[in-house]
């Protein structure tokens, strides 16, 4: 790793560690920060799948949900400790994500067909969760009785979870930059530019797509499991298109696809806008939707590529 890139990662770690102090340690602020880091991680996975290999997965909510439901149900019914179950949930989620990717890339589905294919899968998942109410609790959701952080120790629960998520985020950043700076990253770049041309120069497109889908879905499933234990409650409505996929994609496109800082910045700006608009009350989401349209039209490459171009624009003035 180059020196600059090490410094960049340390700065990111430092900023995320200091955020709770900056915003004051109230429970509300910590909850917002926790959700911010959780969604940053989701956007990170999405960046892997959609940003780098252009597979528009609209089943991200289901992939998160598989991790969440699997870890909760397995540990509640079989009594396995959650920490092992997280890994099982993540592996199952990764397996499903990569098989969806394999089917769609072998059949050479176009970007829109992949979207509808995975969307159908996601709705089926939601229906199954509602239907199997004996195991999953159905529409009313599932309340988790045990916490993975023992309540007897006198520590701040929100703060502990926050640092758990930040450590995972840091690990994800390290693994991500490791992948992107290797030959795999070069292959990803070719695939985003032109898939047919990439296949012509001898890149196994299917292999790399499945690989990226596996990594992304694995992270989705892992975070899904921990998110469930953090929230202490899961319901099917948390894992559908409106409440997960839309938010993730908006954050990703806002930040800039295929960049390291894009997901971090996208999720951060999204959260800031949302918190600033909160005093508007009921029309928050309306203003938010309009703002999104404007941002998409004028910053369609995302904030990170735009910021990178800024010095050149400044010189021209």
């Amino acid at each position: 790793m180059k020196k600059a890139s090490i410094i960049q990662k340390l700065v990111i770690l430092g900023v995320y560690s200091l955020l709770p102090i900056l915003f004051g340690g109230g429970d509300y602020q910590l909850r917002v920060l926790n959700l911010l880091v959780i969604f940053t991680l989701f956007t990170f996975s999405s960046n892997m799948i959609f940003g780098h290999t252009r597979q528009l997965f609209l089943c991200q909510g289901a992939l998160v949900g598989i991790g969440a439901y699997l870890s909760v149900i397995l540990s509640a019914n079989l009594g396995i400790t959650p920490w092992i179950v997280f890994l099982i949930g993540a592996l199952v989620s990764g397996g499903i994500g990569s098989s969806l990717s394999m089917i769609s890339s072998i059949r050479k589905l176009s970007i829109i067909l992949v979207a509808v294919f995975t969307l159908s899968f996601q709705i089926i998942f939601g229906e199954l969760i509602v239907g199997l109410r004996n195991i999953t609790g159905g529409d009313e959701g599932f309340v988790i009785r045990q916490d993975i952080i023992p309540g007897t120790i006198n520590i701040n629960r929100e703060l502990t979870y926050y640092y758990v998520f930040v450590i995972i985020l840091f690990a994800a950043i390290l693994i991500y930059s490791r992948i992107i700076n290797s030959h795999i990253g070069v292959a990803f770049k070719c695939i985003t530019e032109d898939e047919t041309a990439a296949a012509f120069v001898g890149i196994n497109v299917v292999k790399y797509k499945v690989f990226s889908a596996f990594i992304g879905s694995f992270l989705f499933g892992l975070i899904g499991g921990i998110y469930a234990y953090y929230n202490l409650y899961i319901a099917p409505s948390m894992f559908n298109l409106q409440s997960t996929d839309t938010l993730i994609l908006v954050m990703l496109v806002l930040g800039g696809m295929g960049t390291l800082l894009g997901p971090l910045l996208g999720a951060g700006v999204f959260a800031l806008i949302f918190e600033f608009l909160r005093p508007l009350g009921q029309i928050t989401t309306l203003v938010f939707g309009i703002l999104l349209i404007i941002l998409f039209v004028y910053f369609r490459e995302g904030l990170v590529p735009w910021l990178k171009k800024l010095p050149a624009l400044y010189k021209r003035l």
């Binding site: 709705i123 089926i124 229906e127 239907g131 989401t285 939707g289 998409f296």
Partner: protein, 286 residues
């Protein structure tokens, strides 16, 4: 018995076709996958509900709301989508997806927050008709009749009139259409308005079978997308056929297995069709 289920399925399927054809036409002309399509259906139905509450007659309020939805379509196309058309290729597809997604979020949250109690449904003042032991429900009959006549009108419009021919030219090849003196922008606006009106009509017809509330927009959009894509996203006749097939699958499976499993079977059918014929039911291999 089976005849009645089939008829209900065909009526529901034709309503889906009305929704899907709009998506197909808009995508064919401008390469914009309209993720706000279901919201037009909801806007129209809720507008009709508001007008009916204000004292206008049922027919008058439905007609008025259809006209207003068409105008809303024109305004949105002219002021919101014109920057999208400047992009080309895959960027345009992605931008279209995200701009219409933002639009659908805005409309959805506005309607859900300002009119949470709105619900549109029309009950026809006619009793069930019995023909040879088969019970024909007037709502299904009316849905089927209106959808078929609108779809036939559309087919005639696209096949025979000058404007329709111009629209098909633009859909086939934008550059050549421009060389022939056809301005794609105007026809895109027209087709967007037609799509919006047809979606609005589908929303009204949905009110005959079920109840339209402000929150069903997302579901209707998903139905429209599925029908359009299963039919081959540029093929109008394929879309109509896929709507009918999926409607029959939906009603037959919901009769034999219950509503909960029927949605699963519906979606499994969608996945199978996508995997077996990625180019759509009537699509040609590209």
């Amino acid at each position: 018995m089976i005849v009645e289920i089939l008829l209900d399925g065909i009526a529901f399927g034709l309503m889906l076709s009305l929704l899907g054809v709009g998506v197909t036409l808009i995508f064919g002309l401008g390469e914009i996958l309209n993720l706000a399509h279901g919201e037009f259906a909801v806007i129209c139905a809720i507008l009709a509900w508001v007008l009916m509450g204000a004292g206008a007659g049922t027919v008058l309020s439905i007609v008025l709301s259809l006209v207003i939805v068409g105008l809303i379509g024109v305004v949105i196309e002219r002021f919101l989508l014109f920057p999208v058309y400047r992009a080309k290729g895959e960027t345009r597809i992605l931008m279209g997806i995200f701009v219409t997604l933002g639009l659908s979020l805005a409309v959805h949250s506005y309607l859900v927050n300002t009119l949470p109690t709105a619900q549109f449904s029309v009950r026809l003042p006619v009793t069930n008709i019995v023909v040879g032991g088969v019970i024909l429900r007037p709502s299904s009959l009316a849905t089927a009749a209106i959808s078929v006549s609108v779809l036939m009108l559309l087919a005639f419009f696209l096949k025979k009139t000058y404007v329709g021919k111009a629209i098909r030219t633009v859909a086939q090849n934008e550059t050549v259409a421009q060389l022939c003196g056809v301005n794609p922008a105007n026809f895109r606006t027209l087709i967007f308005a037609i799509g919006a009106v047809m979606a609005g009509l589908a929303g009204i017809l949905y009110g005959l079978i079920a109840t339209v509330t402000p929150s069903v927009g997302f579901d209707l959009t998903i139905y429209a997308l599925i029908v359009a894509i299963v039919g081959g996203v540029r093929n109008v006749y394929g879309t109509i056929l896929s709507g009918i097939i999926l409607g029959i699958v939906h009603s037959v499976s919901s009769f034999f297995f219950g509503t909960y499993i029927s949605l699963v079977i519906f979606l499994v059918a969608v996945i199978l069709i996508i995997l077996l014929r990625p180019e759509g039911i009537l699509g040609e291999k590209g």
